[in-house]
Chain length 181, copies 2
C-alpha cells in the first residue's frame, strides 16, 4: 500500500497512538489501513470411498493436485464458501457433513478450513482454473504430486480417521514455508 | 475504498474479467482490490472453576462483559493471537488447552475463534480497552450483560460440556444480526 484508499494521499508505515505495531497511516487524513490474514475454504469431497481432487491450472503449483478451495468472500459463511469453491473448481454439487480441518499458516497469513462433504449426484468436471478433476482411492492417490501441505495433511487425517469411522475437527499450525521438491 | 492504494487513481466497482462479483478496480492501473472477511481470536480462560470476563471500555457494546478477543494480526497463528489478546485486554498469562468454538458471522464478514485456556498464575487486571476484569462462576455470571452472542454461546457450551468433562470443537453460524435489547 502506497496511497490512502480514502483520500489518495501517500501513506507511511508508523505505529498509531495506542497501538503496538506499524500500520499504513495516511499522512494527510490520518486514516489507518489495517492488513489482515485471509481465510481459504474448501471441501474434502467423498464419492463412494474415493476423494475428489483437482489438478491446478493456475500458479502457484500449476499442474499439481489439490482439494477444491479458495478465498472466503465477504458476507458468506465458511460452509457456503467451501460449497461455492467446490462448484467453481470441480463443478461438483456437494452435501456438507461437517467442518474437518483448520490450519494456521502464519508465514503467508492464511487460515485454511476444509469441510467433509459428499458428492450429490456423482457428477464433476474441471472448472475454469482446473486442468482436470478426478476421484482417487487411498492407494491410487497422487501423493507425490499434491500442491500444498494442507492438502496432504487433510487427506492423511481422513484416511486415518476413516479406520475408526470418527471424524473430529482437527486444528493444526504449519509454521514454516515448506521446502519445494 | 475510493482510490487505488497502488497508484492513487480513482477506483470503480466492476466485475473483473473471469470473476463473478464486483470488486474495486483501478480505472488507471487496473489493480483489483479484494475485500476479505476478518478473523477475531480470543480465549475462554478458566481459573479454578470460574471464567475470566472483561467489561468493555470501548464501543461497540461499551460497559458490557466479553471474553478477551480481538483481530488476528498478520504472521501470527490463531492461538498466538488469542494469547496476545488475552494479555492486552485482561493482563492475563494463559496456557492454551485447545481450540473450542468457531463462529461464522457473515452479516459482518467475521469469523470468531475461541480457545480454552487456563490462567497461569492467578493474576489478571484491566487492559487499556477494558473497564474491569473479573472471574465468575456459572451462577454469578452477568448473563444479561454480555456484549456479543458469540460470548454467550461459548459460555453456554462450556458449562454444558463441563458436565461430561468433554470439550469437542464446536463450529456454528450466526446468520443474522442479533436484536439489541
Amino acid at each position: 500500500m502506497k496511497f490512502c484508499s480514502s483520500c489518495s494521499a501517500p501513506v507511511s508505515l508508523k505505529v498509531p497512538e495506542g497501538d503496538n505495531r506499524p500500520r499504513s497511516v495516511c499522512d494527510t487524513c490520518g486514516a489507518i489501513h489495517y492488513e489482515n490474514p485471509k481465510v481459504v475454504v474448501g471441501c474434502l469431497v467423498i464419492a463412494d470411498d474415493r476423494v475428489l481432487l483437482c489438478r491446478r491450472g493456475i500458479d502457484p503449483r500449476s499442474g499439481l493436485w489439490t482439494l477444491p478451495a479458495g478465498y472466503l468472500e465477504t458476507n458468506e459463511t465458511t460452509e457456503e464458501g467451501a460449497v461455492r469453491e467446490t462448484w467453481e473448481e470441480a463443478r461438483a454439487r456437494v452435501d456438507i457433513d461437517s467442518l474437518y480441518t483448520i490450519f494456521d499458516l502464519p508465514y503467508i497469513s492464511q487460515i485454511y478450513m476444509f469441510y467433509r462433504a459428499r458428492l450429490r449426484d456423482g457428477r464433476f468436471s474441471a472448472g475454469e482454473e482446473t486442468l482436470e478433476a478426478d476421484v482417487f482411492s487411498e492407494r491410487d492417490l497422487p501423493w507425490d504430486k499434491l500442491a500444498f501441505p494442507v492438502v496432504e495433511r487433510t487427506l492423511k487425517l481422513y484416511f486415518q480417521d476413516r479406520e475408526n469411522d470418527d471424524f473430529p475437527i482437527h486444528s493444526e499450525s504449519i509454521k514454516k514455508r515448506p521446502i519445494r521438491r
